[in-house]
Structures are given as structure tokens and as C-alpha cells.
Subunit: 143 residues, 2 copies
Amino acid sequence: MTTSAPRSTRQRAAIKAALDAAEGFKSAQDIHADLRSTGGSVGLTTVYRALQSLADSGEIDALRKDDGETVYRQCSTPVHHHHLVCRVCGRSVEVEGPEVERWADEVARQHGFTSISHQVEVFGTCPLHAAEQVPDEGTARGD
Amino acid sequence: MTTSAPRSTRQRAAIKAALDAAEGFKSAQDIHADLRSTGGSVGLTTVYRALQSLADSGEIDALRKDDGETVYRQCSTPVHHHHLVCRVCGRSVEVEGPEVERWADEVARQHGFTSISHQVEVFGTCPLHAAEQVPDEGTARGD
DNA sequence: ATGGGTGCAAATAATTTGCAGGTAA
DNA sequence: TTACCTGCAAATTATTTGCACCCAT
């Protein structure tokens, strides 16, 4: 097993391209719909599998939204960072948080925990959508 | 609407009790199974609804695991805090992180985001299970 | 040629919802 | 009594898997 790299196929390329063109985070379902509308047809299953493998190899970043959907994004920085995501448009900003990393490490160590990992996401409404807040559920249906 | 409080029923009490007795986080399914084994029978639907309303009113804390399951826990502190969760036994420790709150607020403000909220969880292996690490998926099946 | 990649359909799984009947207030 | 609560079953939704077929290597 010499770190076998996945075969390069039309689908895989299309998926990476779609993710690349995306402004913010996209779910597998989003990518799939995106691809269909663009003409190229890729199976949902394939999208899930490709996204998964890309996330595994670290090429893209995955995060689970509050509602349970897993979204992916092509990150510009390969270094560890977190995201500031707009609840309305989904657009995201990559942010660093050295103090957060330090804090997580600290509290974990304090309690004797090892193999630490953390999950940090900040959600909010970006300046472009300050007006159309997200009441709760249902109002934000702009497709 | 005078902040109508939910009616106190046998089921609701049982659910709160089960959650209270729990060491770490429990999913709706867990609570349901727990209740069934204890004799008291409560419908799965009811468990979901009760847990949801309890979380809404802030009486319990909810968090979504990496695998997508939502777990709940009776928190000892009503103030905002985060959790340090053991990947092996699920036991959790409540931790505070003023610097994290500050950081989240800061980066959000810097980018003009409003209505900020954040999701911060730290995972690791507690000292009692440092040996039985979680390889990846499947080894931890201690019921 | 061959084995990994693909995709359809069916299988899972967690959670939600419709609706009839029970019960706390 | 009455509105809210309960719970069963069916519906949803996101994601996974079986399996036959196709293509990059």
C-alpha cells in the first residue's frame, strides 16, 4: 500500500470544481444539485464518496451544521483553522484562533485527557444579510 | 403567551430523571432504551419532544456528536459553558472558556457578523481509558 | 485486461409529523 | 371540560451499501 491515490475521473474533477467555485460551504446534496444544473451528471452516491475521500485526505474541510447536514469546503489554507459561517447565505470566512487551540489543549490536559481534538465553529449573520435574520426556521428559503 | 410552562407528566419526569442519573451525554434513543429497561414505558416520540423542549428552555444542554446523533445532558451550571467529552466512555466534564467566548465575539465583530453563536466541543480520551484508544470506529462497544 | 470508480435502487438511521385518545389543570 | 401531552405508525431526510457495469491505468 503505497498511499494509493484515487483515480482521477471526470466526476471527481467536476466535484472538486464545483466545490472550488462555491462561495461557502456546500453539502453533498448541494454539490449534486449544482452539478445536475450545470449539465454534467454525477450520481449522488459518487458525490458522497468523493467528498468523503477528499475530506479524509485533507484536501477539503468538512463540518457538521447544527441541523445535522455535513458540509464541505475547499479551504485556501492547509493549516488548522476554524470558520465563521453566515447563517443566511452560508458564506464563510476562515479564521485562526491560536488562543482557542491553546485553551482546548489546556483544559484537556488539566483533566488528564489525551488524544485531543476539538470542534469549533462560529455562526452569525454576515453584514450583507443583517436585515434578513433567521427567525428560527423557514424564512430563509432563497434558492 | 405568558411563558407557558410545559405540563408536568410522568413521562417528562422519567426523562429528566434518566438524564439526571446519566453519567455523560445520552441520545434520545439511549434515554428511550434506558426507560424501557427500567420498566417505565415512554414513547420514543415523547422522548424526542421532551428532550427538545427541555433543551429549548435551557434546562438541559444539547450537542451534536461527530456521527450526527444529538445527545443531551443535565448540566450542573446554568451559565454558558462547553464540554470536554471522553471518546471512549462518553463521560464529560463541563469547562468554561472566557477566552473562547471573547475570541468568537472578536473575530465575528471583525468581519461584521451579528447574532453570533458558537459551537465548541473538545474531545479526547479520559485518563481512565488512555489505554483503550478509539482506533477509528467499532472497537468501542462496551455496553 | 483489471481493479477501482460509478450509479441506481434499496437499506439504514435518526428524527419529525399526523392523528386519535388520555390527562393535567 | 379543554387544551396540551402522549404514542403509534407512517413520512422525511441525510447518508450508506449491494451489485452490475464502465473506464483509467
